[in-house]
Symmetry: C2
């Protein structure tokens, strides 16, 4: 009998370290050629399975796979495509099984956020019902850091480091200029429903007066009067005010400060542009000259300033996912478990997909200062180790060298999927 | 007689390496204690001289001064304050002389762009007329790269590296997502009148299909129809389109694509927000889902990804400025002279301030591709060495450690300046 093959797919918004997880998966699978035949990667995620677009990663050189460890974004393509429930779209699940059977795929490793873990869990159950059991392992990934049970999510530490470094640097810039020019700087960061990323930016402020002075969290209802008062106090005291605002910052009634409209395939509202909104509010009410930045994809793809801790953890969960599969585990996800000692330590643990799926972990209120505008020492203790260490990619001619894969597709065996 | 003192000031928008020039000035002056007494730095630039706010850099430790080499922004404070002509505001020049005399300042080193070189030149001439000759040396600095004569401006290489790295990384992100989600990414970069920064972003594209696919230069009148056609062609061919747009992009009639209104102290219009404008135009006309980023101050303060070449050159022009002063030169500015060999080399040369002042160097048309949407090989040859090499700052707890100066002011001797 042919050896069982493995199917790996990247899902949802990519990060600067999701390819490090892919690297962990593929390198580990290659160490077990006795048990795992081919490692397929879905071209553009799960859609690649539906369309039978299976990238044969065995055709990639060892050095190309190794380079994935320091390559941002999704090297095989990701997708925003959520499988409906089996009841709603039985055909999709049947197609998946058909493709898996046709290519003798017995392992399904799904690298994504809460939605994806839900899908992996469903596939696991259905494959049993359908008589072609698939070992389904989730691999955590999300810059939003909102998966439950795991101490943190691979992808978060690097975006956290990027935003903290960026607001420290831009803060120094504004501090230089504030005497005669810009007094307000507003940096918008990602984080739809939870302020993890915004909170991490708070690490940049280590002494009184350091940027950022104000953080606007989704968790704290925006109070215009209180906010403007705080801005003014900062300008009076420090000469300027550096503000980090989460794209998810909202009013008491739940309205986002700036809603750009539209919705993605998961039904999430697409946000953007809260930075200029806040900057203009300050200008209108207090008259201060402002600048604003929206880092957008720059923050989640900034592999050049990735956290070494994050890279290691991303690799480790990819590696562990393969090991779990080979140990006969199913419908689980490797997680990061933080040690209890004073010095930061971590190890890989596991969680059941059913416990992870569709649960959003919010930032505890105890991480936010009493006035709602900054982080607490407890938050610093949590965040700090996650951004620790640098893991620079290789540079050539002044630019980071990122993996270029061949992405050769396996020959199709089935009819085209519409 | 007391030894002559030196006054150094930072001017205009700061960069990630202007402090490296300050480091070059101070460290070199400290090697000539026989000739130079104190090195004063203006608190917030030239305004510091007018207000007699003179930071005594001799009070800073050698390690603090050394740390300036890897600290972004203006450690002594900069300003957007342009001295009027002598005829218009004689009082200001007289005050400057009064302060310089009171503190026995015989050397004036002014670190800035074209406006500042003009000021330094004026001070040099007036000091002679006023019978208290001051040796005035300009030190080039501008992210805009628009000073004449010098091959390039310290500050530019690092912002160039930042934008090229960023669009490469964000481009990979969009490439991962484009199958089912974002197809258009627009990154706005600085550059009021010249497309140097936008052009440098073009370095990220090394093979066909690499981001950026389109660059919108201030030099090329924006043609909506042609632009949209090109965007569509990129999406059809590569699946997505990554666009770099200069804040100075404008229509044929000279109107900026997005003019945020307002003007700075030099009379330049303050720009921003062209990225969302362009992104929305594409969405409206072609229907593609978009993301956009405005890096703003992040790009010019990103010391964590500074160009090693840029850092070295910034230091060298600071060092040379002191050496020029000690050699009896006056009203000159150290410049970067590129070697003529195949392999990149550079040395410090000099230019007369009168030749530098208020001249803006535009990007040659030969650097822009025939269709106006990208750079040529000639441009690559020019840009590439300027972003070469990495010069990482020291990190602690995951964050770059930047200099914290004491900034102790010299005791005032004069009446308050109103």
């Amino acid at each position: 009998m042919a050896k069982a093959n493995l199917f790996y797919a990247q899902s949802g918004g990519v990060t600067s370290v999701i390819n490090a997880s892919a690297c962990g998966v593929i390198e580990t699978a290659r160490q077990h050629r006795d048990k795992i035949g081919k490692v397929y990667a879905g071209l553009n995620g799960i859609v690649g399975a539906l369309r039978e677009n299976l990238i044969d990663t065995n055709k990639e050189s060892a050095s190309a796979i190794a380079a994935l460890r320091s390559t941002p974004a999704g090297a095989f393509g990701s997708c925003r495509y959520k499988l409906k429930s089996y009841e709603e779209n039985q055909r999709e699940y049947e197609r998946l099984m058909e493709v898996f059977k046709a290519h003798n795929i017995r392992y399904f490793l799904y690298n994504g956020g809460g939605d994806s873990q839900d899908t992996a869990n469903k596939v696991s159950r259905l494959s049993l019902d359908m008589g072609f059991p698939i070992t389904c392992i989730g691999i955590p990934k999300t810059v939003d850091n909102d998966l439950p049970i795991t101490d943190n999510c691979p992808g978060f530490g690097s975006v956290a480091k990027y935003v903290a470094v960026s607001i420290r640097e831009a803060g120094l810039d504004v501090a230089s200029m504030c005497e005669s020019s810009t007094k307000i700087f507003v940096m918008e960061v990602m984080g739809r429903h939870a302020g993890w990323i915004a909170g991490a930016a708070g690490l940049a402020s280590e002494q009184e007066g350091d940027a950022p002075h104000i953080i606007l969290f989704p968790e704290i209802a925006f109070n215009k009067e209180k906010f403007l008062k705080k801005v003014n106090a900062c300008v009076k005291k420090f000469g300027y005010c550096a503000i980090v605002v989460s794209e998810g910052a909202k009013y008491k009634d739940g309205r986002f400060l700036a809603d750009a409209g539209g919705a993605d395939a998961f039904g999430h509202v697409q946000l953007g542009g809260v930075a200029p909104f806040v900057a203009n509010m300050v200008k209108d009410e207090l008259g201060y000259k402002y600048h604003w930045a929206v880092a957008d994809y720059l923050q989640r793809s900034a592999r050049h300033i990735a956290s070494a801790t994050d890279v290691e953890q991303a690799y480790a969960v990819g590696k562990s996912a393969v090991e779990f599969a080979l140990q006969g585990k199913n419908a689980v996800m490797p997680i990061i478990v933080r040690g209890t000692g004073k010095k930061y330590s971590w190890k890989v643990g596991e969680a059941r997909l059913s416990d992870v799926a569709n649960v959003e972990k919010m930032m505890p209120r105890s991480y936010i200062s009493r006035d709602g505008f900054h982080i607490t020492d407890k938050a610093r203790e949590y965040f700090q180790p996650l951004i620790a260490g640098e893991d620079y990619p290789e540079f050539k001619n002044g630019l980071p060298q990122y993996a270029r894969l061949k992405r050769i597709l396996e020959k199709k065996k089935l009819k085209k999927w519409e």
